[in-house]
Symmetry: C2
Subunit: 359 residues, 2 copies
């Protein structure tokens, strides 16, 4: 078992900001990117948090594969629609600006969609969807990503794990926040099993010959993840359809790369990732109070549903993450020692020593 | 094996129209409802076609549970948003009008969302999404439905099979048309297995105790369908999240019934089904020609993906249905003899004899 070290959230954000600033990211942008990255750890999604600081972002900034200035340009605009070019900037900064503008438009028009081309990996999709919550709006955030998933009946990874994130406000209850890869699991889950020498459950992935495998290394080496649903008998073509949908909206509609053209974070070339954001103002459809009262009622009804043997709680999407965030804000963010080691070595490369003291 | 009888599509539509007219549905509305119902059979989705003519619609019109005049009222409107009350009309008629208005709004605003409360079962979700295709728009159609699905860790059906339909135009290739229940399978698939005495695959459903079962009658009698993904290990909570999302958008945002409050077609009381429609005008984001060229390229790339052993073709969503439609328009619509028998007996009840000659 790895050791877990605990850091205060603001100190961790400050470190990540300094790291980005050292790589010529303007301070205001560095703070945005830091907030998004640390948010993942704060919500308990360590796979998408500071562990990727160097491999997904720092390394690419150093190589010139990401432009530190994130100069977002408007391609086309109307009162409810906005098409942006992300200028090959940091995905977090580009996405934050795009969703901010989407919310501004929706505040006037009642709803808005913003597409983005020429961006990069943007971290956790839910971050941007959740920006709509304080405005009493529904937020939607989609992105395409590097090819890792095989279409149904295919044996090669040509689709991304293309996540769907939707945030919907409630009243007294926590908001509904869905943030799901359209594959059964992320590639990170496969890597975790590989590192620990554990087989993966049948259904998660296939080998290079297209056969179901329980050997994680076979998925990683020439194999592919399966879309949500898994094999055709359990309707994996629906997950394939959702992965494709996310790419058609975030890649093709935006004019970004799509399918097997989307860049890999490990490559030196630009990634041309595409995003899709939407904001829907609830009061344009019904009074916000009535909406929130129904949300609370619905959440309570779900939680009161009789349970299967061995389970005593039904969760709403985002609930575990809100509980983590509350806990970690108070008591600090837990990071496995291997994540801390990755920060230490990243800090050495970039010249910003990781000097935080664990709690 | 049941016998299959084949009918010309226009004659079948004409019969369904006459059936609705006899139940006091205005002729123009009857033709809309007939077109939607027969479309399902034409696309090969017999489970949602004329087999339901009496059980879902005729019977409820006769009982006064559906209002034949479908008087749709505007609750709230802005240039890109529209909230409607369906007046407890036929779901197909209400949905057709709602999506027509949504497309009109999107033509001006670049995108639009229309919500509907107080409606009924609307047939195949894809019908309305596909109305956007000739306008070079992306169409989205969601609806909630009677409770049949258990949330993850729950053992009681409190969620609907709540479908997601999205239609996206291509160029030379067929459009992408996703139309998927957010459960692994529809309840109709379970009934088919029950009738034929076949066990269902493990994962499709649970019994009243919340245990996985392969006995279709156990799912039907107090059990529940499982959401897409199935058990937690294969990430069924994602399918649960999608089912809930569809209901939050079509039930809660519209102010309709939601969750276990949504009416069952077999009940005499009003169903208060909710729908959600969106239309997105492609040219507000990028030139339509460039978009369609990328769609074609993407579809061809997917089809050229190396196949798993035993498979020689990768499908795009909607492709099989377009092929069925082309074939059945030319050669007639095939209906199993049990479907024909249901039409004969429905015709007797309503006083509109099913007098079509099979081809």
């Amino acid at each position: 078992m790895s050791e877990t070290l605990i850091y205060p959230v603001e100190a961790l954000k400050d470190y990540v900001s300094r790291f980005f600033i050292a790589l010529n990211v303007p301070e205001i942008d560095a703070r945005i990117a830091a907030d998004v990255l640390v948010s993942a750890d704060l919500r308990g999604i360590n796979s998408h948090g500071v562990i990727r600081l160097h491999s997904y972002y720092g390394d690419r900034l150093m190589k010139g594969a990401i432009d530190p200035t994130s100069s977002v340009q408007v391609i086309q605009e109307s009162p409810a629609t906005l098409a942006l070019d992300g200028g090959n900037g940091l995905g977090q900064v580009v996405a934050y600006r795009a969703m901010s503008r989407c919310i501004e438009l929706a505040d006037q028009a009642g709803l808005a969609i913003t597409t983005v081309r020429n961006s990069n990996h943007y971290g956790i999709a839910a971050y941007y969807a959740m920006m709509a919550l304080p405005e009493d709006m529904i937020g939607i955030s989609l992105t395409n990503s590097q090819p890792l998933v095989a279409p149904t009946f295919g044996r090669t990874a040509v689709l991304g794990t293309n996540p769907i994130a939707v945030a919907i406000p409630a009243g007294a209850e926590m908001p509904y926040v869905l943030d799901m890869a359209t594959s059964i699991v992320s590639i990170g889950r496969i890597t975790v099993h590989q590192k620990s020498g554990q087989p993966i459950p049948a259904g998660w992935g296939i080998n290079a010959q297209g056969e179901l495998t329980q050997a994680p290394e076979e998925v990683l080496q020439g194999g592919a993840l399966l879309p949500l649903g898994g094999p055709a008998e359990l309707r994996g073509y629906k997950g394939y359809g959702l992965s494709l949908l996310v790419d058609l909206l975030s890649g093709v509609l935006s004019g970004a790369a799509y399918g097997n053209h989307v860049g890999h974070p490990g490559k030196k070339s630009t990634a041309d990732v595409g995003h899709f954001f939407a904001a829907i103002k609830i009061e344009n459809f019904r009074p916000v109070d009535a909406f929130k009262a129904d949300m609370d009622d619905y959440i309570r009804m779900l939680k009161a549903t009789p349970k299967i043997p061995g389970q005593d709680r039904i969760y709403i999407h985002g609930e575990k993450e809100f509980e983590n965030e509350k806990n970690y804000r108070e008591h600090g963010v837990p990071l496995l020692s291997e994540i801390v080691e990755s920060l230490v070595s990243a800090g050495q490369v970039v010249g910003v020593p990781f000097d935080l003291e664990a709690l």
